[in-house]
Symmetry: C2
């Protein structure tokens, strides 16, 4: 297969994303109040992103200089800058179009009904999905053309992953703090204290809340998936370039094994495009069915196509089995997540509300911890199957198999916040009950797809990180004689204990940040209700901008330390305690990150849906004691599922890829 394929496929993907964007713009954007509100959201989101990137630019510049002056040299620095740039670009494009699609979804729901609204919202998400996959392919494809020909220079490609992952961590943490501080603040004062509905235009925090959905769930999630996607491909290339080919697949050549992940990802992009077309084609069906046809169809098609790709690249068919293991495992973890955040556990939490908020918290937490069992067993099974067919290379390939159709998975994920925002705009601009009913049904579906997407993201991040760690071990072994990571080596043990600390530390930092920022937001919203005359009567306008500013400042200030901690920890441990300790640290961090990510995401999702279940009239419905108890659960779950939990995915990938990049220096 021609080595130009990934770059070409990526370029075509970008053109299609551009086409979708033009298509979305053709839908009417409304006028008057509707336009004003949606512009405020768009503007707030873009201002946040620009300010965030302003901070990141400093970080990226400093790290780039450090890389250039280390023995890694210019190629790694170039790749690092490219990775950071592509990651930022993916977030920017995705959010730009999502904040254009939201208002058009609301108008479409009002004028044309559910089917058209689904199309617009889904197109909005698809732009993000295609951008993520395409930018990854263009970036990595061109670096492969530059440096991939020789296993000696291939190491430079890792820099791309480091750039992507570190930008992703900052974006995820910053976005997560922004969205939850706005959400918690607006809800607590608006719904609880002032007694006005969610998304009421009189609430000063409501625009910030809607901005937050984009900043956290679109841009944050996009950079999260982008870095897992690139991490999986990079790790597979790295393993192929450092491991003895005979141990992987006696049929293949080193070059073919190195190229395979890029070829698979190109095929995956094609399948995603076809899946997106299928959703549009079937948009007259119930939205849930249309989305399912698109994703499941794309997965099946990819599984078949991957067989052809494996043959075409000239690798043994065993390797294809690892692709299948990854693709199936990803689907299964998604299904388990759906059960825990939508099935019987949710009703159990709601029932626990009968004895108050404390039992809601205890049962939700117990369910979150229980929800790790099946996904972890699945990950073990994937490791077992994929390494049985082609060693640790198989883990990388399984991760690529899971992430290859990221174009459509991400589209479905990003569709959720677009629909959510459409609902917010419909409410704020009083677009009528029927419109709100349509956007609500789209939003509800979005919650389910988002939960599945989160489970999928955790599984993918775990496999990608594992592959990167394997690549790290291989790379160090090239430079350090007799390098072994034995568990009974005190260095490795100390590393493992240290590795366990970081996920808990970062989770604690991000949760505290949300708490502190939310309390600032609460004070500001209370102040506006108190000081702006006529606000409650709808005669005066709230100062939205001040709320956005508070959330932005808090997010930018509080994202710095966790981000630097994640990037600096491997460097300090690697140079301070040695490559064995660093290896142990990655192992300990991997296990703890995955466990915390699953627990927090699923407990948070289950609490959220338990509250919604009660709001539908169960256990006394809205306003009952049980409802108040489940609201407490939902509020605790907010930072769990949208700030600290998602940060875990990226944290382990950042630590792993930084270790891989500095590996040659640890000799």
């Amino acid at each position: 297969m021609d080595q130009m394929v990934p770059v070409v496929a990526g370029s075509v993907g970008i053109i299609l994303a551009w086409g979708l964007y033009r298509l979305v713009l053709r839908y009417p954007a409304g006028e008057g109040l509707v336009r004003e509100i949606s512009d405020a959201i768009h503007h707030g989101a873009m201002v946040f992103l620009r300010r965030e990137y302003g901070v990141l630019a400093w970080f990226v510049a400093i790290v780039a200089v450090l890389i250039a002056f280390s023995h890694l040299g210019f190629p790694t620095m170039f790749a690092f800058l490219m990775g950071a740039f592509c990651s930022a670009l993916a977030g920017y494009f995705g959010m730009f179009s999502a904040t254009r699609a939201n208002v058009r979804t609301a108008i479409a729901a009002q004028r044309h009904g559910s089917s058209t609204a689904l199309s617009v919202a889904f197109f909005g998400g698809s732009i993000m999905g295609l951008t993520v996959a395409s930018l990854g392919l263009i970036g990595l494809g061109s670096l492969y053309l530059l440096y991939g020909g020789d296993p000696q220079t291939a190491h430079a490609i890792h820099g791309f992953g480091m750039g992507a992952s570190s930008v992703a961590l900052f974006s995820r943490v910053g976005g997560g703090i922004f969205t939850k501080c706005a959400d918690v603040g607006a809800d607590l004062v608006g719904k609880v204290e002032a007694g006005i509905p969610e998304d009421d235009p009189r609430n000063p925090g409501v625009i910030a809340d809607n901005v937050g959905d984009n900043v956290g769930d679109v841009a944050g999630m996009g950079s999260d998936i982008f870095e897992s996607y690139c991490g999986a491909i990079i790790a597979t290339i790295a393993i192929a370039s450092t491991m003895s080919v005979d141990l992987i697949d006696p049929l293949g050549t080193q070059q073919s094994l190195m190229f395979l992940p890029l070829a698979l990802a190109s095929a995956g992009l094609l399948c995603s495009v076809l899946g997106i077309a299928a959703v549009k084609l079937f948009s007259a069906l119930a939205p849930a069915n249309a989305l399912r046809i698109g994703t499941v169809g794309a997965s099946f098609l990819f599984s078949a196509l991957a067989y052809g790709v494996t043959v075409a690249v000239g690798v043994s068919i065993n390797v294809w089995l690892a692709v299948i293991a990854g693709a199936l495992g990803g689907v299964f973890i998604g299904v388990v997540t759906e059960y825990y955040t939508g099935g019987k556990p949710v009703r159990d939490i709601a029932a626990a509300g009968e004895t108050g908020a404390a039992t809601v918290i205890i049962s939700g937490f117990a369910i979150g911890m229980q929800s790790v069992i099946l996904p972890m067993f699945t990950i073990c099974a994937m490791i077992y199957l994929s390494t049985a067919v082609c060693g640790l290379y198989g883990v990388g390939i399984a991760a690529v198999g899971m992430l290859a159709t990221v174009g459509i998975t991400m589209a479905i994920d990003a569709y959720g916040p677009v629909a959510d925002n459409a609902g917010g705009i419909a409410e704020m601009a009083s677009m009528g009950k029927e419109t709100r009913a349509i956007t609500d049904s789209l939003d509800e579906l979005g919650n389910t797809t988002a939960a599945i997407g989160k489970g999928f993201a955790i599984g993918a991040a775990a496999l990608a990180a594992l592959a990167i760690i394997a690549a790290y071990v291989q790379t160090v072994a090239l430079h350090v004689d007799n390098f072994h990571l034995e568990l009974d080596n005190p260095q490795v043990l100390i590393g493992m204990f240290l590795g366990g600390v970081f996920p808990f530390w970062v989770a604690s930092l991000t949760m505290t940040a949300v708490g502190d920022a939310a309390s600032e937001m609460i004070q500001e919203i209370r102040r506006q209700f108190r000081e702006i005359k006529g606000l409650m009567l709808g005669e005066a306008k709230p100062d939205h901008a001040r709320c956005i500013e508070i959330a932005t400042d808090a997010a930018l200030k509080r994202m710095v330390f966790p981000g630097i901690l994640a990037v600096a920890a491997p460097v300090l441990v690697g140079f301070g305690l040695g490559p064995e300790a660093l290896g142990g640290m990655l192992g300990g961090a991997l296990v703890c990150c995955v466990l915390l990510a699953l627990t927090m995401a699923n407990a948070g999702g289950a609490w959220d849906n338990a509250k919604k279940y009660v709001e539908k009239g169960n256990h006394g419905g809205k306003g009952s004691e049980v409802h108040h108890a489940t609201v407490v659960g939902d509020t605790v779950g907010d930072p769990f599922k949208d700030t600290s939990g998602p940060a875990m995915n990226i944290l382990i990938n950042v630590m792993a890829i930084v270790s891989l990049v500095i590996a040659p220096l640890l000799g």
Copy 2:
């Protein structure tokens, strides 16, 4: 040093414990209502323990038969039975005397004041402390005389640890479920619904609540410390018997290295006895000072004495440094725990109550996660220092150094529930405000010492488990050629992921058990208030026995699965996936168990004290909105700190010791 010393020291310790028991009995036990209440608590506790041991007897018998028929043979079976028996006996003695001391403490407070009350409560706890240390020394000392002479037969001694640890896990989990189901049930209905004070005699659940304090905090804690204590000694003997002596200490002989942990523990027992005497001597001082003189004095004395022991046994002085690392590390972890459960973090949680229960939970959880950082760094430092002087043997010796003065540490820990119970009896029997004030001040001090004790127990369990794991690796290496636990081996990786699952699984099971059992208890207490006429007026008596029965049934039923899971998991993984996977599993489980144990214990302790801080009049005091919010935190913290959290310590030790026992069969 003579090899009879441990057995002789242990026997003397038992005689002293018996003497203390006779001393406690000399204090008046009250009459009438006081006597009646204290008899009900004593009776309830002993009935629970007998029924629990009835269930455990089946488990022990089955496992003993399995061991006898395996290749491990009779010696291991004998040691296993002895370990189980000694653990049960320690729990029985401790609880028997604690439930005799509680009422005498209350009477002493009423008639003689604070100093005498402290003496009685502390003697009650000391009996437990001395029993734990003495039974460990007698059991392990005599097994050492039997099997320790030849490194070939020394393996049988491990059975003692397996017996002790499995009984401990069941006791800890069963006791934890009992105490928290009674506590949550009695509090929610009594304090919140019926509006009567804590420990009010009209509350049907109040005797069960007081029984629970003994069952969970005395018997459960006792068997917990007992198994860590024995585990540390056993692991050190095992490492010495399997490792090349030259790698540990070129000066010592194998026999001297094997005997050293027993010699150190004997010296530790002596120091504990002197420490206990010092507390009595200074009991006229403020209670906190008297306790501090006893513990710190014992630690210092032990550090000096350990030097002499090391010389007398004929081991190089390097090894003594590992003892000091362990002893200092234990103290430091205790201090950190005290800060997180008593310092600024507690006031922060209380302040978070200003914005409701949700922020109390978020901030408490963040603080719990943050509290792992320093203890984990301390553990890393201890590993680093102790392995630097004498390899992995040093880790075992550090654990022994930490646990050697367990006699007094445990005494101070068990003193807490005795004082707590004395307060309960004083309240129920209306012994007057002044009596209650004295027992309250003793109880408050008990909460602090209990928190320090918990931190200490976690640190000790972590080091002990690590030493056992090291012994496991050494033992397998004797039987399996070319045995390596490399982190990039897929078997090891799968094991690590599996190992991370079990702590989360067991935590989830135990939390759910508390939730379910508490809701049964709530229904029963509500029923009694509804159906027993005149109960609220104090004219009719509640049916205490029924509540105790519910708690007992729930505890016995729900302790079985987590216990069997812990014992069976290493066997299934070891024989199913091989010794590499089992090694990885122990590594993953160790890190996660320690992290969860610290998070849960410290978050729980901080929530508890935040509630008490508000009750002292801060943020509006009792009955305010902030108080309600902190009560939610306290209730969530109950299963965290007293059921699931403590179970983590033993879980890792059970898994490790079972692995060590089956290690020779995995060849």
